[in-house]
């Protein structure tokens, strides 16, 4: 319990880093870059988040998961603020997050606009199936070496 000890910002960031992204649970919401700021004051904790896509249905789940995770750690007063500028970009994905995406079978975003290689067999012989995928942040690609389809995390 942390009732009497002053909360540190780093502590809050650590706790948030254990909240999984609801759609891609191998990365945390901190890895994803949606947590933009943490402010601690006597009045409580203020967390600023930003949406990945304007219509992303995971955002309300993320807000709920943050409140639950911090409440479980004993944080009493949690305020969430949504900020849309500067707009979220895949540049904010952490290195740890990118590596975990690939291990999980999702090719991480590349500035070139397509995956560098197949997350399964690592071949660079890949082609796009569709610009969109199972969630707003993904597109569908296929590997022409191992013939497996895979998700690519869109670069925006």
């Amino acid at each position: 319990m942390v009732t009497s000890v002053a909360l540190s910002k780093d502590q809050i960031w650590d706790w948030l880093d254990s909240v999984p992204d609801p759609e891609i649970p191998v990365i945390s919401i901190v890895d994803l870059g949606v947590v933009r700021d943490v402010a601690v004051s006597e009045g409580g904790v203020l967390i600023t988040i930003t949406p990945t896509y304007t219509g992303c249905p995971a955002m309300s789940v993320i807000a709920f998961d943050i409140e639950t995770a911090l409440a479980q750690k004993g944080v009493k007063k949690i305020t969430l603020e949504t900020q849309i500028a500067p707009a979220w970009t895949t540049d904010w994905l952490s290195e740890k997050g990118r590596a975990r995406l690939e291990d999980y079978g999702i090719a991480p975003p590349q500035a070139a606009g397509g995956p560098e290689r197949c997350p399964q067999c690592k071949s660079s012989n890949v082609e796009r199936i569709s610009q969109f995928g199972s969630t707003p942040c993904k597109a569908q690609w296929r590997c022409k070496s191992c013939m497996e389809p895979f998700d690519y995390f869109k670069c925006i």
Partner: protein, 254 residues
């Protein structure tokens, strides 16, 4: 003459209603598209548009200061209070026509949102910057699809040409300036829509050339949607479906 605040409210409704109405029409494809990849793509595009609509309408509600939320504006206004372009409320018809409408709109929306990113109104600029990234992605897809279908089979070319011929007289409405546009331009909140027409024309004409499609040689444009003067008979039917739940069960949430 209206003051800047109520002109800004009208302006925000136009942005929000364009996104909402096209977003709803696009969502009608969910489970109906010709192939699963297209079904998923259309559902995702619908989601983006509805997300953008929420941002615009939230701000509109705040400007109006009448206590209306984005949901109230979306679900409790009648057809004559909507400010969307007529083209966006037309029924989907076939897949080719859906793609053509997206392309004509996306080709406008990309330079428009880029211009709004420079708005003197910080909130307008913030929303536009966010939406602009999504619109750019949508245009990439709709442009590619127009070329693919136009330069496809005899049938796909015929259908795309029909879609273009039918939609062309609706495309020009976006560029008709009125008093609201002039008030926004004077306040440096937005450019005049007419200022974007040349850029739009170059974009669509170069794409149609690659797609073996020919737009009608006419400048005629149906209008009335964005000023709320006259909608087509289709909008009311669309709203009857879209608004049913909130009308039948006021305040319902999940």
């Amino acid at each position: 003459m209206r003051d800047t605040t109520s002109a800004l409210f009208e302006f925000l409704l136009r942005q929000g209603d364009n996104a909402l109405v096209l977003g709803h029409r696009t969502s009608e494809w969910c489970g109906m598209a010709p192939v699963i990849e297209e079904d998923i793509a259309l559902a995702n595009i619908a989601l983006d548009l509805i997300g953008q609509a929420k941002l615009w309408l939230e701000y509109a509600g705040e400007q109006e200061e009448a206590g209306r939320s984005a949901n109230d504006l979306a679900f409790l206004r009648d057809a004559y209070d909507f400010r969307n372009l007529l083209m966006l409320e037309l029924p989907n018809e076939d897949f080719g026509r859906t793609i053509m409408r997206h392309f004509l709109f996306d080709a406008f929306q990309v330079p428009w949102l880029e211009a709004l990113s420079e708005s003197s109104d910080q909130r307008v600029s913030d929303i536009a910057q966010k939406a602009s990234k999504e619109a750019t992605y949508h245009l990439e897809r709709s442009e590619y699809a127009v070329i693919g279908l136009g330069d496809g089979t005899e049938e796909s070319n015929r259908r795309m040409q029909n879609a273009l011929t039918d939609l062309w007289p609706f495309a020009g409405e976006a560029f008709r300036d009125d008093n609201i546009d002039r008030a926004m331009h004077d306040a440096a909140i937005s450019p005049l829509p007419s200022m974007l027409q040349p850029v739009w024309k170059i974009k669509v004409q170069s794409t149609f050339q690659l797609a073996y499609l020919t737009p009608p040689d006419s400048e005629f444009a149906h209008s009335g949607g964005r000023i709320g003067f006259r909608h087509t008979e289709h909008l009311g039917h669309m709203l009857a479906t879209m608004q049913f739940l909130q009308r039948a069960y006021p305040g319902a949430t999940w």
